[in-house]
Assembly symmetry: C2
Homo-oligomer: 298 residues x 2
């Protein structure tokens, strides 16, 4: 399989879209027309509709595992269904589970989400705290199977200052920059023809200065930028995570796209239109902000 970075960049160019839609199942917030025979059926039906609405608009979707896991085994079945439904529509799938552990346990997570035998996602998010060797099984899976990883660097919450921002004695710089350096090294061997590496980073959309600085420190990394919309991240802020080529990042919005439809009595067609319109608007806002922040788009 082609490297994840090249597949993502090709899809971004092809659709002129630097956005992904987050899929966070919340059954109680779905439109009334969704049949609620079972948690799995409700989530699957809801996501099939969302995917129909956005398949030609965005390069990727980002299912958030926590929201599936909160529905237990049925939720994980819905996760599998959702991944398959996204892939059938030609969308890349970024499993947002912020997994990690040490040695063979990290291998098991990589197998679960990045191998074709199990959930078969294109990329996943991981946490870096446990060190370089905890990241290696994911890097190896990416290399062997053409998949990608996004390691959490700087999140969009106020508490990201507690540990992520701590200044290190050796460098006089924040911890997340130290981690960025290690990710750069890990990603060197996974730079594709697009010039981007399949070893990426998660940087929240609420801290533009940090985004700019990390963009400079990791010029070849793909950056996943969640927190657009409901978490207070703006297009202008997210645009700092892009390179001058107008590429290198994917901005993600979840609730703002899929649960912003208003009245639960909305019709099926109006729901699809709502999701489609909100996605279009995000894409345009991000494209405009990137165009302003960087050189002319290619």
């Amino acid at each position: 399989m082609q490297p994840f970075s090249d597949r993502l960049i090709a899809a971004i160019r092809g659709k002129d879209s630097r956005c992904s839609v987050g899929l966070d199942p919340r059954i109680d917030q779905m439109p009334a027309f969704i049949s609620r025979g079972s948690a799995c059926a409700a989530i699957t039906e809801f996501h099939e509709l969302v995917l129909d609405a956005i398949a030609d608009l965005v390069p990727a979707v980002k299912p958030q595992l926590a929201f599936f896991e909160q529905y237990g085994v049925a939720g994980m079945q819905a996760f599998e269904n959702t991944v398959l439904a996204a892939r059938r529509r030609g969308l890349l799938v970024i499993a947002d589970g912020k997994r990690n552990d040490i040695s063979s346990t990290a291998e098991a997570y990589a197998k679960a989400y990045l191998s074709p035998d199990v959930f078969d996602c294109d990329a996943m998010t991981v946490t870096p705290y446990m060190g370089r060797d905890s990241l290696m099984p994911f890097v190896e899976a990416c290399s062997k199977q053409g998949r990608g990883l996004f390691a959490v660097l700087k999140t969009s919450n106020p508490g990201s200052k507690d540990f992520e921002d701590q200044t290190l004695e050796t460098t006089g710089r924040p911890l997340y920059e130290k981690i960025a350096g290690v990710l750069n090294e890990l990603g060197e061997g996974l730079v594709g023809e697009s010039g981007y590496s399949s070893v990426g980073a998660v940087i929240g959309a609420t801290f533009p200065e940090e985004g700019r600085r990390l963009r400079e420190l990791m010029p070849r990394a793909l950056i996943l930028v969640p927190g657009y919309g409901t978490q207070g991240g703006s297009a202008k802020s997210a645009a700092e995570c892009f390179n001058d080529d107008g590429l290198g990042a994917v901005v993600s919005s979840s609730r703002g796209i899929t649960y912003g439809f208003g009245d639960a009595a909305i019709s099926r067609d109006s729901f699809v239109q709502s999701v489609r319109e909100r996605t279009r608007r995000m894409i345009e806002e991000v494209n405009a902000a990137v165009k302003t922040a960087t050189a002319p788009l290619p």
Copy 2:
């Protein structure tokens, strides 16, 4: 429900056992007599046997989610079965998934693993990197539902030096000590009658000095000590994580207990005996080391 800390300490005292058995499904390494009709059936059968062997010996089991997730939806069904089987035998269940995220996503993880509605575990492991506010939904779930959390502080792998050990400019001390301070604060309101808090920490068994120091810094925290046996952690090293009352920690071993039986052609009875004997040996080794390292056991 009683606080998790009190339930764990009572079980430790009742069984005179400071150990937990890790449940990491690896179907290809199970004895030949395990029927392999499906991944779910094989894992469930294997764990039922292990649980029969150890139910009267240990206070808790620690299923490792990654090893279930690597078998997909069937693996998660086996996880549910395993949790139920453990609870039926009166064992406490620590879901080792090293989960976390921000705001409502962390709430979804807490719901998935700590609420009675979903996987209904007694405690779970979490990662601290994203800060205090990312930990709060877990602390709240612990408080409301009598559950526990163990936040990853210092892991047993060599790479734990990369980020966990980084010296902070403000304190001149390692990052993990900063996190320990925050955990102490978060745990203050959750100290039970046992004198221990339901907000605990994960400290690998391979770094005795760090274990001793963290034990002093977090006198009321329950410490989960994985890495005993196969990861190179010794009973002597693990004993540093105990208080002078001979309590305050749970030492966990996984592969060394459940996959140390040797020949795959082993009989059902011999397998149960093997698991039972290995568990007994670990309990004795840990008790002896704790007795040497601390004041006389109560």
